[in-house]
């Protein structure tokens, strides 16, 4: 029998329970993160219009560069200032 060593990081992934989906966005704060890709702001401006149109408060954030993960401080700020996050990837 051959025994080999595990090449992975052997990490244990923790699943966190999600918050209940809100019935309405009225009065909630929604965070929009601009990843700093060219013309991403044009897209997000339109999303902001739509969200404020249904009564949501919108806060805008921006990553320093699209090529790197969002800094920890920025992620923390978004988590503490917003009730709803829209997560999306575009290119």
């Amino acid at each position: 029998m051959t025994t080999i060593l595990d090449p992975t990081s052997e990490r244990n992934i923790v699943d966190r329970e999600r918050l209940k989906r809100p019935d309405s966005l009225d009065g909630l704060t929604v965070g929009l993160l601009d990843i700093s890709k060219a013309r991403g702001d044009v897209f997000l401006d339109r999303i902001e219009e739509r969200l404020t149109g249904v009564g949501a408060n919108v806060k805008r954030y921006k990553k320093p560069t699209f090529t790197k993960p969002a800094p920890v401080d920025l992620r923390h700020q978004i988590a503490t200032e917003c009730q709803v996050v829209i997560e999306a990837l575009a290119d």
Partner: protein, 493 residues
Amino acid sequence: MAKRTRITVRVMSEPTAPRLPDGIVIVVKRECETCQMVIPVLSQVAAETATHIYTQDDPDFPGEPVAIPDTDLAVSWFHDIETVPTVIRVEGGVEVARTVGWLRTEWETVTGVDHLGADLPPMRPGCGSMSVDPDLVDELRVRFGASTLSSRRIQVADAEDEFEMMFARGWTDGLPVVPPTEMRVMAMLEGTRRAPSDIVATVPPDLDDVTVEKVAVAAVMAGCKPEYLPWVLTAIEAACNDEFNMHGILATTMPVSPVIVCSGPGTRAIGMNSGGNALGQGNRANLTIGRALQLLVRNFGGGRPGEVDRAAHGSPAKISFCFAEADDTSPYGRLAAEHGIDDGVDALTVFAGEGPHCLVDQISRSPESLARSFAHKLQAINHHKLIMAFDAIVVMGPEHARVFADAGWDREQIVAGISEHLNRPGSELVRGAGGIEEGLPEAFADAESLPKFRPGGLMLTYAGGGAGLFSQIIGGWVNGDTGSKPVTRPVTY
């Protein structure tokens, strides 16, 4: 492929060195003629002082005095017996003196017994200990040292093909990988002085800390020899940091990957190729060092195509892209020197690059003409209207380099001579210019002259076969703080 794999986690106790008894310890083996010659001396010593003889091969040797078998070679391994016979004086469980082979005066000093082996010649060299026998040493390293490895053990059932099992688990780059057995990983770790538990880097995208041990696992899988391991470790350190931004290079839709440029005497010591086909197939060191970095990011970092790796096309260079510069024959030094590495120091540079493009110019014999040819090729990197955002490496072949060298141009002059022809007015580069919608924003239209590369963005290396008026261009990815900076590191052994 459908067969099942059993996984067990093996908890092993730390192997401990057998304690040597006080008195005189002598390690022998029957196969050694010097050991046979000193049999009368063993009796002489045993008659005078507390003596413990360990025998490696035949438990009945020497017969009288009676020996303690060291059949599993634990005593020999843990007490660093490299030669038989070895004579050790032990006091309070601690070694205080040692001699190897047969040297009468030394034996008398260590044992404290005079007039030993009067009929024997004054000296005779010993033989190799079985514990350092090349045919046994890999197995012994596992037997006595494997419990120092902390990776989970995975047992592959006898009926299962271990190569297919590793494909099935998604641990390969599409080519077979070498099974990372304890024996192979232990042998790989002999390639570095660093401890298996040392942390090397934080590997994206999962951002877990990788140890020397896990790097050795990746190096085995890639097909590396132990002597390549320091280069693999250094490449990982150079690539996995915010400056180089391995995360972005993995995640980007562009077809880039770490290009590893190695130089220094160590490249020749491990047999890297800097000559004909330096960027191609056929050289184990070139191919497997680059592959080890990629496999580590895939298996340890969790970076796989279609997941965090979002490349639109990818590139064959994403399997492995690593080569050596011919810095010993280069007319203009090496890239590492440009990045502050002293002469004679082994070093490597990681660069976020795509696959190589060939520049063919078989006519130019003047440096000015050849520089213009290079400029035309370089202007087109990624898009001829996109400037300053991408660096490039030129891998100049010897026949092209000779044109510049014969004219007395050094590294600085070559880069300046090429760059001189890499300036364009903004009106040619803006969106819509030349009937092409891609380009710079309109705000640049009035700029008189805009360079293709940022300062330091055009890097010169020297490699390739002696015949062929060709060079290779490696185009880069988003540069600087926004994307990736080339990182150069001395090799850590």
